[in-house]
């Protein structure tokens, strides 16, 4: 009853959220969820969500099939050449294969 699918966890600056959601849809993902980060650190330094300056981080979680993940990772490969952030991929098991 469980089938294996790919899960992407994409960490990006808030300004990219909309573009990346559009990309996910275009890549073949049928759904995704977005969460807001609180603080963090990376190659571009530390940040903390404050409401005063523009800093922040969104985590987009998207579960989909192999092809969708492939397409998204290719796009993100280009994206991360110039913008901050990271993406991780892993296998997860889900129910209702037709939904992903």
């Amino acid at each position: 009853m469980l089938v294996v699918r790919r899960k992407l966890e994409i960490f990006v600056e808030p300004h990219a959220r909309e573009r990346i959601e559009a990309m996910l849809g275009a890549s073949g993902f049928k759904g995704w969820s977005v969460f807001e980060g609180f603080e963090g650190s990376g190659a571009h330094g530390v940040w903390r969500q404050s409401g005063v300056d523009e800093k922040g981080l969104n985590l987009l979680i998207a579960i989909g099939d192999e092809q969708a993940a492939e397409a998204a990772l290719t796009w993100l490969g280009d994206y991360f050449k110039i913008y901050p952030g990271i993406v991780s991929a892993s296998d997860v098991e889900v129910m209702r294969a037709e939904r992903f």
């Binding site: 300004h15 573009r19 404050s50 300056d53 523009e54 901050p84």
Partner: protein, 326 residues
């Protein structure tokens, strides 16, 4: 005269809002866990826009169209668009900043800081100096041109290429929430006029001071957190962040005098020229010039210039204006 200046500066320094900024900066420096939650800080920013815009709109409606208003608007537009070109050259000359970072920084200094403007107008109100409500429209006009100028400067060099950033960028630049709130509230102020004001008097009046205190507290925290993390600010850059505002203010005062603006309007014009954006410009630059170093431009505008203007600049520009206006 000098005594006046010192008294003015002293009065400014013990204004509650300025002291709360200092409290925030102090707490941040001590790494206290004091903080204003981000959603509330965002709402306070929105609320400040609402108040500033609405009050300006009501006053502008009462005063009607005037030549002063058009002069001020034109001057603001021109300065905001021209300043980045000059700032870019200066920055490239005095520092080793790459083109993108220099252009992004220049955009910040051509654009304006609404909170600095708010603090300045509170200062003028406290000492009884009048100014036109249309100065809020000038403020709004000055936010964007500098950002466009920076994009012109960098030209084809922006890396953001074909990731579909263009339409999002234009929306960010022209329709960012803060700008829309300011302009929208201004128009609502114009439309509802005195009748609207009687309904919102308490909300946009006595409350404003308190909200400004809370917001400046959080700004103090953010500033000291950021400065603790800021890496490579050399003397040249810090010097720029302190001297550019004063020169900008002087230029603005000279032009304002030439155009026949009033003392209050001219002071605010100087404050606008001296202030550097820390919301609209960074957001646009992160999108459009991701190769530029945000550690530099935000640290300078938010970490150096903003406190300088808040603590020293505002009373200084007013004192200078009084000298010029005689």
């Amino acid at each position: 005269m000098l005594a006046d200046l010192i008294a003015g500066a002293g009065a400014n320094l013990i204004a509650p809002a300025v002291l709360f900024f200092a409290l925030g900066a102090f707490a941040g420096w001590l790494k206290s866990d004091l903080n204003v939650p981000d959603q509330v800080a965002k709402t306070l920013a929105l609320y400040l826009m609402l108040c500033i815009g609405f009050k300006g709109g009501v006053e502008a409606a009462a005063a009607g169209l005037s030549a002063q208003m058009l002069s001020a608007g034109g001057l603001g537009l021109a300065m905001s668009f021209a300043a980045p070109f000059l700032a870019f050259s200066v920055l490239r000359w005095i520092s080793k900043l790459d083109r993108a970072t220099a252009a992004a920084t220049a955009a910040h200094y051509g654009s304006v800081s609404v909170v600095t403007f708010a603090a300045a107008s509170e200062y003028l109100r406290a000492i009884g100096v009048e100014f036109g409500g249309y100065m809020i429209a000038v403020l709004a006009l000055m936010e964007t041109p500098a950002i466009l100028a920076a994009l012109v400067i960098v030209g084809g060099r922006a890396q953001s290429g074909d990731l579909g950033v263009k339409p999002h960028l234009w929306r960010e630049v022209l329709l960012n929430g803060a700008a829309l709130m300011l302009v929208g509230s201004f128009i609502i102020g114009v439309l509802t006029g005195e009748r609207g004001m009687t309904r919102l008097e308490v909300f946009v009046g006595p409350l404003f001071q308190g909200a400004l205190c809370l917001f400046l507290l959080e700004m103090g925290l953010v500033v000291s957190r950021r400065m603790a993390a800021a890496p490579r600010l050399n003397l040249g850059l810090v010097g720029f962040a302190l001297i550019w505002p004063v020169l900008g203010a002087l230029t603005a005062l000279a032009c304002a005098r030439f155009l026949g603006l009033s003392l209050g309007d001219a002071t605010l014009m100087a404050v606008l020229a001296a202030s550097a954006s820390y919301i609209a410009a960074p957001a646009a630059m992160r999108m459009a010039l991701p190769q530029a170093d945000a550690g530099i431009y935000v640290s300078l505008s938010l970490g150096v210039t903003f406190p300088f203007n808040l603590l020293v600049g505002i009373p200084l520009y007013y004192a200078l204006a009084r000298i010029v206006w005689g």
